[in-house]
C-alpha cells in the first residue's frame, strides 16, 4: 500500500520513530498560535466588514432647535422628503421614550424635564447606492430642514474599522511568520533525520537509488509527523476559540459582539493542519534533495 508516495517496503527503510523527536510538538505549539492568529484575523476581517456594512450605511439627522414646533415641522419635512428619496431604506424618528433612554445615562431621571429642548433625531438606513449619493441626500435634507445636522456614521466608525482591519492584517502576518517558522523546524528535522540515517542513505545510493526515492522516505515521515502535531495544536486552539467566543458573547456589546468567527472561517481553520502537512512535505523534499545534491 502506498502512503504519501512510499510503499510499505519503502517505509521499513526508515524505522518509524514518529513522535520520538520534538518536531511534532514544536509544530503543535506553532499550529496552536497560528490557529489563534488566523481565527483572530478572520474574526477581525469579518467584524470590520460587518461594521463597515451596517454602520457605514447609517446616517443620523439631528434637528437642534429650542422652538419645538419648528423642530417638529423641520423633522416632519425631512421625514417626508426621505420617504421618497432614492437609496433610502428607512428613515425613522426616535420617539420621546427612546430619547429619554439614550439621555438617561448622562442626565439621570431628574434631568429629563419637558422644559429641556431635546433635538429631533432621525435614523436613516441607506442602500449601497444611497450611500454613494449621500451628499445629494444631505443637500436635500438641509433644503427641507435648514437646522438639520447630518452625522455620517461611517465617519466616526472609519478609524475603528481601520484599526480592526490593521489587527486582521497583523494576524495574517503572524500566520505567515508561523508558516516560515514551521518550515524552519521542518528543515532542522529533515537535516537531523538525514544525519541519523546517513548510513542507510549511502547504501541506497550505492545501489542506484535516486535522490527522489530517498527524499520520498523522509518527506512522508516528516509530513505525517507535522500533520499529527498540527492536528493536536488545532484541537487545543479550537477549545480556546470556543471558550473565548462564549466570553465575548456574554459581553453583549455591539462592537465587541460583532467579533465572531463566520462559518467559512471554521473551514479555513480546519484546513490548516492539511496545509501544514503539505508545507512540511514540500520543505522536507527540497531540504533532503538539496542535501543529497551535495554528495556524490
Amino acid at each position: 500500500m502506498t502512503v504519501l508516495g512510499a510503499s510499505q517496503a519503502e517505509r521499513r527503510l526508515l524505522p518509524e520513530g514518529r513522535l520520538a523527536g520534538p518536531m511534532p510538538w514544536v509544530i503543535a505549539i506553532m499550529m496552536f498560535l497560528t490557529a489563534l492568529a488566523a481565527a483572530g484575523g478572520l474574526a477581525m476581517g469579518s467584524a470590520a466588514n460587518r461594521l463597515g456594512a451596517d454602520l457605514g450605511r447609517q446616517v443620523t439627522v439631528q434637528i437642534i432647535l429650542a422652538d419645538t414646533d419648528q423642530r417638529d415641522r423641520e423633522a416632519g419635512a425631512a421625514q417626508q422628503l426621505l420617504s421618497h428619496e432614492d437609496g433610502v431604506i428607512s428613515a425613522r424618528r426616535l420617539g420621546d421614550q427612546e430619547m429619554q433612554t439614550l439621555l438617561r445615562p448622562w442626565l439621570g431621571d431628574a434631568g429629563l424635564d419637558k422644559d429641556i429642548p431635546l433635538p429631533a433625531m432621525i435614523d436613516i438606513d441607506l442602500t449601497g447606492a444611497g450611500r454613494d449619493r449621500l451628499d445629494q441626500i444631505a443637500g436635500a435634507i438641509r433644503a427641507a430642514a435648514p437646522h438639520a445636522r447630518i452625522d455620517d456614521h461611517a465617519g466616526f466608525i472609519a478609524p475603528l474599522v481601520g484599526l480592526i482591519r490593521s489587527l486582521g492584517l497583523l494576524a495574517g502576518g503572524i500566520v505567515v511568520m508561523m508558516a516560515g517558522a514551521t518550515a524552519a523546524a521542518v528543515v532542522l528535522a529533515a537535516r537531523s533525520a538525514l544525519n541519523t540515517h546517513r548510513r542507510t542513505i549511502d547504501v541506497m545510493h550505492m545501489m542506484g537509488a535516486t535522490d527522489v526515492q530517498v527524499a520520498r522516505l523522509f518527506q512522508r515521515r516528516i509530513a505525517l509527523d507535522a500533520l499529527f502535531g498540527a492536528m493536536v495544536g488545532l484541537l487545543a486552539a479550537i477549545v480556546v476559540i470556543v471558550v473565548l467566543g462564549r466570553r465575548i458573547g456574554e459581553i453583549g456589546s455591539g462592537l465587541v459582539g460583532s467579533i465572531a468567527l463566520p462559518g467559512l472561517a471554521w473551514l479555513v481553520l480546519l484546513c490548516l493542519p492539511l496545509l501544514a502537512g503539505l508545507l512540511a512535505l514540500l520543505v522536507a523534499r527540497i531540504t533532503v534533495q538539496r542535501a543529497l545534491g551535495q554528495t556524490l
Binding site: S7, A9, E10, R12, L13, P15, R199, T200, D202, V203, M204, H205, M206, M207, G208, A209, T210, Q213, G293, L296
Partner: protein
C-alpha cells in the same frame, strides 16, 4: 572481449596529503574475472570505490560501460550504479531490515514489483545457505551470515560488474569456496567480477582469473598478465 572498465592515468588524493593511488592505467574486459590483491593500505578499497562510483578520481580518466564517468552528471549516476553490484568490506547491511529485505533492496530500488521479487530473493537466500534466516535482522546474524547476506544483496540484481571487497574474510573455507563458485557462475553468465582480497590462497581457486596487485598506491600488474601461480612457471 571488449573493455568494460578503463582507467587511464588515474590518481586519487584525499585532502592535501600524498596520492593514495597514482598512475593507474588498466582495462578490464567485459566478462573477465579479476582479483585485486596487495597488502593492507595499498589502496585496494580506494580503487574499488572509484570503480563503483563512490569516489571520483582527482586526476585521470575512467570509462565505465563506454562512458566517461569522471565527468558524468550526478543525476545519471544511479543508472550506472544499478549495473554494478557491490560487496562492502564492512557489509553495510541495514540493521533494521530483515535478511530478506536487505537482499531485496536493490530490486526494490530498481522498481521490481513486490510479487516478482519474492522468488528470486528466496532462491538467493537458499543459495547462500540462509533460507531459514530470511526474517532475521543483521545484528542477530553471525559475521559470516552477514557477509553472505551482503553478497546475496550484491548479486541479486544480476549486475554487469560485481565488485567485492574482501568477500570471504569472515566465512569458513567451505563457504568461501561456495561463494567463489557463485562468483564464477555469475562470471560464466557474463558478469565482470572484481574481487579485492589479500587471501593469497583464494587466487588459485578461479582458474580463469587475472590478478592485479596494488602496492603503495601503484598497480604492479596493469595488464593482468601475472597470474597466481604465474603461468610462466608452468603451473
Amino acid at each position: 572481449m571488449s573493455g568494460i572498465v578503463q582507467f587511464e592515468n588515474v590518481g586519487l588524493r584525499y585532502g592535501t596529503g600524498a596520492e593514495t593511488l597514482s598512475d593507474l592505467s588498466f582495462t578490464l574486459a567485459a566478462g573477465g574475472f579479476y582479483f585485486l590483491t596487495g597488502p593492507s593500505g595499498a589502496g585496494k578499497t580506494s580503487l574499488l570505490k572509484m570503480l563503483y562510483l563512490s569516489q571520483r578520481p582527482t586526476r585521470g580518466a575512467i570509462r565505465l560501460f563506454d562512458e566517461d564517468v569522471v565527468q558524468l552528471r550526478r543525476a545519471r549516476l544511479p543508472g550506472f550504479r544499478r549495473r554494478i553490484g557491490v560487496v562492502f568490506q564492512d557489509f553495510r547491511l541495514i540493521p533494521h531490515l530483515s535478511a530478506f529485505d536487505n537482499i531485496a533492496l536493490p530490486l526494490r530500488i530498481a522498481g521490481v514489483d513486490e510479487r516478482d521479487l519474492v522468488t528470486p530473493v528466496r532462491e538467493m537466500l537458499a543459495w547462500v545457505g540462509l533460507a531459514d534466516r530470511a526474517s532475521a535482522h543483521p545484528p542477530t546474524l553471525s559475521g559470516g551470515e552477514q557477509q553472505r547476506v551482503a553478497i546475496a544483496r550484491a548479486v541479486i540484481g544480476r549486475p554487469e560488474i560485481l565488485v567485492a571487497d574482501e568477500p570471504t574474510g569472515n566465512v569458513d573455507p567451505e563457504m568461501a569456496a561456495r561463494l567463489l563458485h557463485l562468483f564464477d557462475a555469475l562470471n560464466t553468465l557474463g558478469t565482470t567480477i572484481v574481487v579485492a582480497t589479500h587471501d593469497i590462497h583464494l587466487l588459485s581457486r578461479v582458474a580463469s582469473a587475472n590478478v592485479m596487485r596494488l602496492d603503495r598506491g601503484r598497480l604492479q600488474d596493469p595488464t593482468g598478465a601475472l597470474r597466481y601461480p604465474p603461468k610462466a612457471d608452468g603451473h
